[in-house]
Each structure stands twice: as C-alpha cells, then as structure tokens.
C-alpha cells in the first residue's frame, strides 16, 4: 500500500469566501502603467473584518493592487485598468460612484508617516472638516475618539495644538491612522505602515491593527513576512503581477502549497 501522487486531486491554492463574507470582490483585474502590466488577471476576495496581507517581492504589484482598491491608481495619467472591483457589491468604477466618498470609505495609510504640517488636532479634524463639520464640540469629540482608537490619546492629549511634525515616527504613523479613523472608514488599506519605524513602534502599530479588526476590514501590504505572519488572518502571495497563493496565514507560513511560495517565505532562490 503505497502513497499515490495525484496532482489533479490537489486543492486550489486560492482561498475563497462567500459573497456575504467578502468586503472586496476582485474579478480578473489587470492593471498597467503606460502599457506595462503591473498586475494581470487577478481574482480574489477580501473577507470582511479580517486582516488580509499581501506579500511578495518588490514590483510584484501588491502596492498597485492596494492603490487600486481606493482608486488612487487611477490618478496617474498613464495608468490603465481592466476587470472589476466590487466593494460591498458595488462596482467602484461605476458612473454613480463619487471618488472622494469612496476614498473616505476606504482609508489608506502610507509607508512613510505623512501627517500634514498642521497641529495634531487639525490633522485628525482634516477629514471631518472636508465633510463640512465645523462645530467645535463635534470635532473635539471625534478627534478624541479617533486618537483613542489609535492608542495615541494619552500621549498627545497635552499637545493637541502642537505641530504633528514634532511627534516621533511611530506616533506620527498612529496619528495618520487616527486621522483616517476619524472619518469612519469601512476599510483601512495599509501600505507597509511600519517599514519606516523602529521595532517597538512597529509592535504598537501591529497591536493597533489587530485591535481594529473588530471594526473594519484591513488590507496590509508588507515586505516583512514575519509581520504578515503576526497580524494577518489571510495572506496572499503575489509574484510578477500574479496571485500565486492565497491562504489562511497559519497555513501559508507553515505549509505553503506551492514551491514558489515556499521559496519566497523561507528565503530561497527560485
């Protein structure tokens, strides 16, 4: 009685979710810059109220994919797109979609902390003021609750009107998260949010990401595989503009199905 090798019976390396559990449904998405493809024929679903991580080598298209989710990708004059992205069932490229409103719903945090050159308070209130909220009491409450959600309130409550640029890198990044949370997004996109930070600040950000899971859907792009392993529920591995493997993080990091994934996450030459 020997073991029979039967590749046809192997399960798909792409995990799937029901429509009802999906926040984003991406269908056959192809993105390019000036005719050069960045992502080709990608189909995946991002589960609601989970942390989904995109990992892969530089230039694999993971950041491009992230930026497509809030249509920042469209800003580039040379950017092109085929395929469909649906957010909660609605095509985000539909005619009736207001891009500014979409971006409010799908917040984004960038690699380098990018607080505006204003006070801490004004940074957090920025998005609210854009929506025309002017009453001081409303703003005060929203700012406090956003800063508290980002675990920053205690550190900055005495310097709300000091410059945001005087904060440390880790505090700045949490301020940016607070600024995004203030407008109550449904999704938070994080583009290597800790790559410019020291290990302790990184851990604080990761802790924050885990804590936010109960409120929103998080999508994380990271170069740091350990970070993806630590904070995400699902991990997608992209390579050369293709989705290679997408699985529960626990499985992907102990027993990936595909050699390409294995080679990448264990640091082998492929």
């Amino acid at each position: 009685m020997s073991v029979i090798h039967s590749p046809s019976a192997a399960p798909s390396p792409i995990v799937d979710f029901a429509d009802a559990a999906s926040c984003f449904v991406i269908d056959d998405l192809t993105l390019d810059y000036a005719g050069k493809p960045a992502l080709s024929g990608l189909t995946l679903r991002i589960p609601r109220q989970r942390v989904t991580a995109f990992i892969g080598p530089s230039g694999c298209g993971k950041s491009t994919l992230l930026r497509a989710l809030n249509r920042l990708h469209d800003l580039n004059d040379e950017a092109g797109r085929q395929g469909r992205i649906r957010l909660e069932g609605t095509d985000i490229h539909g005619d009736e979609v207001d891009v500014a409103e979409l971006r409010r719903r799908v917040g984004m945090v960038f690699q380098a902390p990018n607080p505006f050159p204003m006070s801490v308070y004004d940074n957090v209130a920025f998005g609210l003021r854009l929506q025309g909220i002017k009453r001081k009491r409303v703003l005060d409450e929203a700012v406090e609750s956003a800063l508290a959600s980002a675990a920053l309130w205690d550190e900055v409550k005495d310097r709300l009107h000091g410059s945001a640029w005087a904060l440390s890198g880790g505090q700045q990044q949490r301020l940016v998260i607070a600024r995004t949370l203030a407008v109550q997004p449904e999704v938070l996109l994080l583009d290597e949010p800790a790559s410019a930070l020291d290990p302790i600040s990184t851990l604080k950000i990761e802790e924050l990401i885990r804590g936010l899971k109960s409120r929103l859907t998080l999508v994380l792009v990271t170069h740091n595989m350990q970070q993806a392993a630590r904070v995400s529920d699902y991990t997608a591995f992209l390579q050369a503009g293709e989705l290679v493997e997408y699985a529960a993080t626990d499985r992907l990091f102990t027993n990936p199905r595909l050699t390409r994934t294995e080679n990448y996450i264990t640091g082998r030459m492929s």
Partner: protein, 526 residues
C-alpha cells in the same frame, strides 16, 4: 577681511585630510574671492557715498601770486609731468562760475583752517564757502535792530532754527488744513460759506507764514573778499566745520544723511535728497510683486499639478525657463508697445477721452512699469514655485486624497500651504531682479525728476498713471546726464549704496516672512 577669508578656507578644509590635493584650497579660494569682491563693493560704495556727508574741514588757501580762496580739499593727484595737484571743492558757483578748482601743490603758500569759515547749503546755486558778515533786517522783520557783524553767525543760526520751524508749520498747514478744504470746495457745487471762510483764513495764515520766512537777507563774503547778498529764506543750513568737535560733526553727518534720504532733489538732481526715488523704487517693486506672485503661482500650479505631463507641458516649461534669459530691454520694448501704446492708448480713448490728446495711461507710468517688470520676473516665480511644488512629497497629496479630499481641496488645504515658502522664495528672487532693473523702465515710465510721489492724500491716493523716480535710473542720471560730475559722483555712490540697501531690505523682509511661515509649519506652539 583677509582674515575672514583664511578662516573660511580653514573651515572648509576641516573635512579634508592629507592627500586631498589642492582642490579644497581652490574651492575655498573661489569663495574667498567672491567674498572679497562683495566686501570691496560695499566698502567702496559706503566710503565714497557716505563720506561726502561728512562735514570736512575747510581750508583758506593762499597762493604764491597772492590770490586767496577757500574750499574743501578733495584729493591730490600726480600729473604726467611730475607735478602734484590738489583738487578743492570751492563751491560758490554763482561767484566763480565753477565749484571746483585744481591747484598745483607747489604754488600753495599757506593753508589755514580759520574757525569762522562757513559752509552754507542753499536752495539755488549749490553750497557757499566763505564768511557770514551780516543779517540785514527787512521792514516787516520782528527783529528791527541791525545785526552786528560779530553776532551775525549767532543770529543766522537762530534764524535757521526759526525758518525750519516756519517751513514745518507751513507744510503741516498745507497738508492738514488747506488740502482737505480745497478738495471739499472742488467737490461741492455750491460751497458752504463756513467752508469758504475757513479756507480763506487758512490761506491768509499761510501767506503770513511765507511773509515771516522772507524779507531778511544775508550778507556773505568769499575768502577773496567779494561780497554777496542772498535772501535768508534760500539758506537751508549753515555750519562751521573748523569750529566743530568730532561729536558735533557726527551729529551733523547724521542730519545730512537723513536729509539725503528724506528730501527731494534740488539743483538738477545734483543736490538734495532721493526720497522720491526710494519711494518710487519700493512702490513699483511692491506693485510688481502683487501682480507677479498670483500669476506666477497660478501658472506653476497649472503646470505642475493640473496639466497632463506630456510633451506640450514640457515644451511650455522649457519656454518659461528660456523667458528668464531674454534681455530686459526687450521686455521694455514689449511693455512700451503692448502696455503703453496698445492697452494704455485704448484705455485713454475709452475712459479718458476728455483729456486727449494729452495721454493719461497712453504714456509711461507706474502701472506699466510694474506690469513690465512683473512680466520680466514671471518666469522666476513660476520656476521657484514649481520647484517648491515638486519638493512636496506625493504622499502628502495622497494622504489628503485618501481622506476623501477632492483634488481642489488637496491643492488649497495641503499643497499650497506647504508650497508657501517656495512661493515666497520666488517672490524674493523676483524682487531682487526687479529692484535692480533700469533698462526697461526707461521706456515705460521712469523719469529724471518727479518730486510728486505717486502715493498721496488725493483721491484715488495711488496714482497708477503717474511717472515716478527710480534709484537705479537716478544713478544713471547722476553719472551720465549731469553737468557737474565732481559733485554728482559722490551722490552716484551714495545712491548706488542706497539701491543695494533697498534691495537687501526688501529681500530681508521677504526672507523674514518666509522664515516665519516655515517656523509655523515646523513647530506650531513650542
């Protein structure tokens, strides 16, 4: 100064170890040379320009043929045949027909510095050097008794103080009482009797003041004994440098410098002050900044933030950069053709046809000069602002967009505030360039003499159509158009120094403003 250069060279070499070769020294030498030239320029301008206000000692010179004259020794030169000659500023142009005198050093028998030698500043004929002999009373003078010769100097000084006070009162009366009343009278169709009466009273008061000023005359005597009588009211100031201590001289020097800065020109610009030129320069630069900054910023924002970054945009950008290299006189020609004759002429036909054929806007003026310089400095502002916009990291823009800001909101709330220092840098560069331009201005509105300021109390206060004076043009004018080069030359230096100072002050103001803004951006309340 050389000390500074060597210290600088040492500072620069601090990082360079042994075996680096000569290049650090070469580079340091370049910096030292530049510094040396800047310092030399300032020293020359300051020495020659400010020195002429110093109340130098006056000499009474006796020549070997017995002739005597008085004057201020200016410099000594060696002629080609080995003689040495002295140049004396002798003033007294009304007596001698000239204000300068070259004397062979060998012919001078004696040089004395008598304490009673006086230098007078007069409204006409330039200064006088000689003796004050008497103050002759006039019929309506409050001081009836004739002045004794020995006390003439003392009385003259008292008169000068009084005259200064009277002139001041007259000016105040004109500005605060007469002018408003005249305006009211001109505006009203049937003037109220009370106003008329007040106006008459004020005019009478002014006439009385003028009378009080006039009347007396001063008897002067030159060093060689010729007598001369001048009306006292034409004497502005008088001093006896040989009788003054260094402190008194310094005080007088300060007064004369201040007079140079605050008074209008006299005697075909070769005497008096340059206030209208300072005012004209600054006002024109400010107007130019007000025009060029918004246009330049809008253009830069369009080029960098809005336009599709294709070949056409690149072409436009190159064109803008090249525009900065067009010779300034070409802008002058353009301003004359388009602004003055084109737009100005049309404006005159539509709005000021009553004054034709004498042009209102159809001739050079403050507005057209400002616009021409704005055009000249536009590329500078555009380039500087674009550089500033390019320095704002994209993630700042994306940060705003990701919060649901539209592109317009991103621009106004994040990008422009961050680019403000760069815009101000552009403005500083524009100011620096504009304040020093002379050539185009000669075509579009600068004149040799315009004592009336373009900004005054008369409606509409700012007279955009008026011609104005400019420090740079004033320098040119003094240096090349003046008949008396010896007396104009120190003024050329002084005016040039002033021009440099004005540019530095304008720049420092803008730099201070920018620094203030930057500081606000960096740390708000610390």
């Amino acid at each position: 100064m050389m000390d500074t250069a060597t210290r600088l060279a040492r500072d620069m070499n601090r990082g360079a170890g042994r075996g680096e070769g000569a290049w650090p020294w070469l580079a340091a030498g370049g910096v030292a040379l530049s510094l040396l030239m800047v310092v030399a320029l300032l020293v020359l301008l300051a020495g020659r320009g400010l020195g002429q206000f110093w109340p130098a000692s006056l000499e009474r010179v006796t020549l070997d043929d017995g002739r005597v004259f008085a004057g201020e020794p200016v410099r000594q030169i060696e002629t080609c045949d080995g003689h040495r000659e002295w140049l004396y500023a002798t003033a007294n142009r009304d007596l001698d027909g000239q204000a300068w005198r070259w004397v062979e050093a060998g012919r001078i028998v004696s040089r004395e510095t008598p304490e009673d030698l006086v230098r007078l500043e007069r409204q006409r004929w330039g200064p006088f050097i000689g003796y004050v002999r008497a103050v002759q009373p006039s019929a309506n003078s409050p001081l009836g008794q004739p002045a004794v010769e020995s006390s003439a100097w003392r009385i003259l000084q008292a008169r000068l103080v009084r005259a200064r006070a009277l002139r001041e009162r007259l000016a105040t009366l004109r500005a605060s009482t007469l002018a408003p009343l005249a305006e009211e009278l001109a505006a009203a169709e049937s003037p109220r009797p009370a106003t008329l009466a007040a106006f008459d009273a004020a005019q009478q008061q002014a006439a009385k003041l003028r009378d009080a000023l006039g009347g007396e005359s001063l008897v002067l005597e030159s060093a060689d004994g010729r007598r001369l009588t001048v009306p006292l009211e034409s004497v502005l100031d008088a001093w006896r440098p040989n009788a003054m201590g260094p402190l008194a001289k310094l005080g007088l020097w300060g007064q004369r410098v201040w007079a140079f800065l605050s008074e209008g020109p006299r005697a075909a610009n070769t005497d008096g002050g340059v206030w209208p030129a300072i005012f004209g320069t600054v006002l024109m630069v400010i107007l130019m900044s007000l025009v060029v900054t918004p246009f330049g910023v809008l253009a830069a924002v369009y080029l960098h933030e809005i336009a599709y970054q294709g070949r056409l945009t690149r072409l436009v950008r190159i064109a803008v950069r090249n525009l900065a290299g067009v010779p300034s006189i070409v802008y002058g020609v353009f301003g004359l053709g388009v602004f003055v004759y084109g737009i100005g002429g049309t404006l005159d036909q539509w709005l000021f046809s009553a004054q034709l054929p004498s042009p209102t806007f159809g001739t050079g003026g403050l507005l057209w000069a400002s616009l021409t310089l704005a055009l000249l400095t536009l590329p500078v502002v555009i380039v500087a602002t674009e550089e500033g916009l390019a320095r704002i990291p994209d993630h700042q823009r994306e940060g705003a967009l990701a919060l649901g800001a539209t592109r317009y909101e991103t621009l106004t709330r994040v990008v422009l505030p961050m680019a403000l220092p760069a815009m101000l840098t552009g403005m500083i560069l524009a100011v620096a360039r504009a304040a020093g331009e002379v050539a185009p201005l000669m075509l579009v509105g600068v004149v040799k003499l315009a004592p009336r300021l373009p900004l005054d109390g008369d409606f509409p206060f700012l007279h955009l159509d008026s011609k104005f004076m400019h420090l740079g043009y004033h320098v040119f004018n003094l240096g090349f158009q003046s008949g008396d080069i010896e007396s104009a030359l120190p003024l050329v230096y002084a005016t040039a120094l002033l021009l440099v100072t004005v540019i530095v002050v304008l720049n420092l103001t803008a730099i201070f403003l920018r620094h203030h803004l930057r500081a606000r951006h960096r740390v708000l309340h610390r």
